[in-house]
Symmetry: C5
Subunit: 354 residues, 5 copies
């Protein structure tokens, strides 16, 4: 997941600041805009909407949520940016979907960029950048791909459940961020299951396959940490309430999100510790099994090599070997072998090898 | 212990904030309320009490300790919350029993959430979330399960030992938190014993079983650290005395609790260091034993393989092998073998293998 | 890359401060000066320019970019230094091309020293020190070698793209620093590719060659970290805007550079974690493969050593060995061997070795 | 040393704060009090003294050092505590001899608790808790056991050497703390010797015994770190001089103690680094030796197994084996064996195994 | 280098503060004083000088550099101390040559203690403590041994090169400290060479000798870190310019020294990381080589053990073994062996062992 990141950003090396090029993993050829307008009494979803139509949805009481999906058409992003008076560097940040999570307060609008994580059946953890612009009466969200974790927000908007319809853009802004953070727990749940599976196999069957799984897990956690740690600062800034755009009554909700992000940081550290621990156990288990293999070899070889030697002695063809002519030579030889066997077994028993 | 945590929390992903659903490990179908009312002269225990009866115990001089066990009936929690004017997000935190320890001061009440650890004979360390609400004349405690570590507080209340009956709700609040923290030492005592057992076996008998025990110990310590570290901040906030709900004369007791929590943090680090050390020793011991196994194999093989070769030589069936006809051929062959044996033994002795 | 660094600096040990000696890796015998003068309407490149001609380019409206390549002729550096009134210690820092990145504000000029990284086909990552002096109407850049990453800036100057021609020396200063930082992403891209290559081979073919590559990677990352970490402080100082030489309207651009440097720091840590992880996997893979080798040996030896022993028994030449005369002795011996073989195979199967 | 610590403290779990029970390792059944009174001209030692007699030694000019040894009789401690008006929680801290080093300033007295380390011939490092109370004209010291490191202070008191007899209780307080800190250097000297012994054996003779010693060393260092780190804060508080009980002219002496404690912290880290390094070297040495063992086995086995096979070939009893009848068959067979031997030796030589 | 440090300091345990005993590694029986007096026009070196003569060199315009070598005669140190009014604890610090680098400003003089490192051909890195006293018109330096790194300063004084002769005692003070710090780079150069040598051998020839070198390197770096880290604080304090004894015009020079010390700290961390990396590579290399050894053994044994078994079969002496009488029995047996050989080789080839 991380290895191709820098490769995208370097594409921009050498361009003047503010040049809009979409940098990211998910490539589609078009950009869709949908607008949800609501107040306490009314509610309407509009899609698709062209960038030209956006101003028509503003300037009326109520809140507008402008959701922009797939960032391929950079001219549309530029048009949206100019409608809301967004600085060219911010427009660049929206398109360069390899940002570090950050929050910037420009007075008339707040810009937040963060990552939406989800677990895909075959691919494992998938990450997508989501940017938000909070203006006094609108929230603009930018996603890289169709499909998101905002369905619960949409349902609450439609059903008037909770206080969302009575509240302003700041509450919607909170609700969207909260739903992304809540979804991180789903990702951690999946990681928890992976860890449990590894643990079950770890001591008994330390196969290279498990090694690969542990390594992939470590990589995922390195990535998730990179995504969650800066988020602490982002949410902390929001909850400190320095901006006029966020009503003080909303701050307690950001405090709640902040607690969740802190908890997620704890999880990351916990899981990293556990992954490190599992690797140690893996190494120890491999050593243990090698030890066991060596013991079997050593026991068998140590017993039979001397016995074979004795057999070899009496397999020699010297003409003058008195023992060969003895009546009891053969049983005596077998007897000596039996004695050696017993001594060897006792020795191994004392060593606790058998 | 940790692996199923996030799975519970993710259940809530997408619900509006303040939706009450009990999230936790211990599931029972009912919620019990018991109330202990006391002042310097009177003392009474009342159980079971219904939520409707609670207001009848308040508004009188003295202190009320409302203890709520098992959080299955969320409507009861909601009712208690509304009696004391508790914010819906706090009610949610009480029911979501996977909180990070924290303290929040809402002016008219203080909310504290922490973990009660205990050692169960077969299960090892068991963790249960306990929440407290401190109001001017009452302490409300929320537990996930029946059975707790508050018996000593109950006895002191009954027997009027110490200053507890002469003091207000803040002292009761302290006494309950203190008894939870005190019980952590019991847990560490148990961990200390586990470590001692491991150490006794570590160098002599590094079995996979011990490896598993070390790994479980590391996991437990990761978990305990996650529980104790945020507690430092919680108790530190209480002892700083910013709230009117806690009398300045009580602060020195929170200072004492704070010292204990710092000491517990030290223990966690110490035990983590020791667990890491034990794993190193384990790996070294396994290597050592493998070395020993290898030496035995090498000594036996190195001695007998050349001897067997000589025996093999004289076991060949060539017609013209002059040595075979010699009178002293056989003793000479045995003699050569003896010389080789002595040289080998001297070599091993010089190498300090035998 | 790092091993010869200190050796150069120690050359200076014992000289009075301000003594100008060029200390660095790249040695050429001359120093070239080129000057680019521009304002909104005019643009001119002048090269080669002698140090005496420099004052002629100053004192006129517009911006002068004085680019000095190869630092062999220390007298030229001293002359340039005296033209701009640069402190002797700064002149020393410019020539001693093993500086830690730093920024110093002397009121009338700002001094910044940093490293320009690039990837050379056969050599891997190459580092070169670049120093900048920002004065009110000129930027002086000092490079160790011809060839740099400023071509994009030159093109923007020539083509009037972006706001560079309308802006002052501070914007040029930003543009040059930005182009160096942007190029770091190219270096990380290359590192990302190296890591991907290693990962593909890691578990399947853990050769010593891969070990060497991992070690080289770790060294490179140690070096890059040393170069990037102090840069955070440098850019942070610039973006804080304490100097009159940088116009407040430019600060947002330094903020952008700062975000990039922070992101680069994240990459360094991420890649270091991954390199450490890969080494663990490498060690585990080697252990795994050794385990496999041991198993093959043990299976073969454990099966055949006892069988060979039985063959040895009946190869003995005792006169009185009744079995030898039996009609079915030979098939019976083979049968016993077959039974032993089956038992062994079952044993190994149960052990999950085969 | 650390494993039994928490077990003692948990004894107290559930008791009301201020309940006096002696918790510690050293158990005797009585408590001894000795008093040393001195001023510039007079000096007197009094022992044993009963708690009732203490007030008689106070209220006169000069300084009283009240040394209380063995803490079994908790009623005596309580009596002493009430004479000096000591808070019950402090009395509890004095008896609970598993405190973290700390300093508390109660205005009329300063409480300091720290650990006295010493090296016992057979037991290694022994730790004992010492508490101090500094009042305007007296120092009260509490020790767990008879025998201490204060003899040098006693001699200086008797001999009037240095300024101790001319100074007040604060200087005595400093002198006692200083003598404990000075003795830590003796402990580190012993650890230094242990490390030197280990190092001498490490690469040449990596026995399990050394492994055990390294592990014990690591445990001791973990413990000592736990004792010294909080001491930095204690002495730093004393040297900052916030208390009226310590004269400003004494502060420079606490500064000196502080420097020593910082130096001791450095030692702990240095020795921990060295212990970690030694374990790495140990593991490497064991691997090296195993490698050597394997080489010997491989060389011997690889040479003789093919030779033995050839001997086996000509030991077969086929009727039609032409070589057996050749005149030069036997020398030819020996010759082939010799050629194989030479090839093998050359191969091993090229591999640098021999 | 570090192991004997604490042993010296513990000698002092129990002495009253200010007792002068020389504690250190280098023992000679006398103490030499030399004085260099200079101003812009005059320059004179005087040696040997007795302590009584020192006041005669003071009180005149110009700067006096009093260099005291070998600290055996503690009475001389005491006499010098009293001439300049130095606190007894400082005199003690000068003689106890195991100090942590520190700087103390006593108003009328500044005390600095630091370490002079050098590389001796056979001993490796040698450390010597140097103390400085800066008074308004004199610098007093205390060295443990004859021979130092101040020759460059002496030459600059003699030759009037640079501004040293025009400046006051503060500049001399700077020049001496700077020459010590500059010499650290020489030490790091040597370490760089050692690392390069190790790296060349590391993967190809991982001998125990290299292991010992890596361990010695780690120890040296642990020591150097202990010496350099506190120096950062020392030089930072000097460069902050809180003292009247250092002229503001000198501060920029201390800033330069500070940059060097920061760079040295970077080197220490870099080299420590590299030493850790080399140990990992060493371990991996040893594992790799063991793997190779095992493979050779396994290939040879696995091929010949079955072949030898077949030879053993036909070496049995049963009377009724039909194959023995076959005409083609012998070639058939050899053929079977050849087939087994080919199968084995193919198997190993598929495993990529050969």
């Amino acid at each position: 997941m991380t290895e191709t990141e820098s490769s995208q950003i370097s594409k921009k090396a050498g361009l003047p600041p503010g040049t809009l090029i979409h940098i990211g993993n998910f490539h589609t050829d078009r950009t869709d805009i949908s607008i949800t307008r609501y107040d306490d009494s009314e509610y309407g979803e509009h899609a698709p909407v062209s960038a030209d139509e956006i101003p028509g949805f503003l300037g009326r009481p109520g809140v507008a949520w402008i959701n922009i999906t797939c960032l391929a058409q950079t001219d549309i992003i530029a048009q949206v940016g100019s409608i809301f008076g967004v600085h060219p560097l911010i427009q660049e940040d929206i398109l360069n979907t390899r940002q570090r999570p950050k929050m910037e307060d420009y007075g008339s609008y707040i810009f937040v960029v963060m990552n939406m994580l989800s677990v895909e059946p075959d691919e494992g953890i998938v990450s997508e950048q989501v940017s938000f612009l909070l203006t006094p009466h609108a929230v603009i969200s930018f996603q890289e791909q169709p499909g998101d974790v905002f369905d619960s927000v949409r349902k609450r908007l439609q059903s008037k459940k909770g206080r969302i319809r009575q509240s302003g853009a700041d509450y919607l802004f909170y609700a969207l961020i909260d739903s992304i953070v809540d979804n991180y727990f789903v990702v951690f749940e999946w990681i928890g299951e992976v860890i449990e599976e590894i643990e079950d196999e770890l001591v008994e069957h330390p196969t290279p396959e498990i090694l690969r799984t542990i390594y992939a897990l470590k990589r995922d956690l390195i990535y998730i940490r990179k995504v969650i740690y800066p988020l602490r600062e982002v949410v902390s800034q929001l909850h400190r309430g320095d901006s006029d755009l966020v009503d003080p009554s909303i701050l307690i909700y950001f405090r709640d999100v902040y607690d969740h992000v802190i908890q997620l940081s704890d999880y990351v550290e916990t899981y990293r510790d556990m992954a490190a621990g599992m690797l140690d156990i893996y190494l120890s288990s491999v050593s243990n099994r090698m030890n066991e293999v060596m013991k079997v070899l050593t026991i068998i070889a140590t017993i039979f090599i001397p016995l074979t030697f004795i057999a070899g002695i009496y397999g020699m063809n010297f003409e003058y070997m008195p023992e060969l002519g003895w009546r009891l030579g053969y049983p005596a030889a077998l007897g000596i072998m039996a004695v050696i066997l017993v001594i060897m077994l006792m020795y191994f028993h004392r060593k606790e090898w058998i």
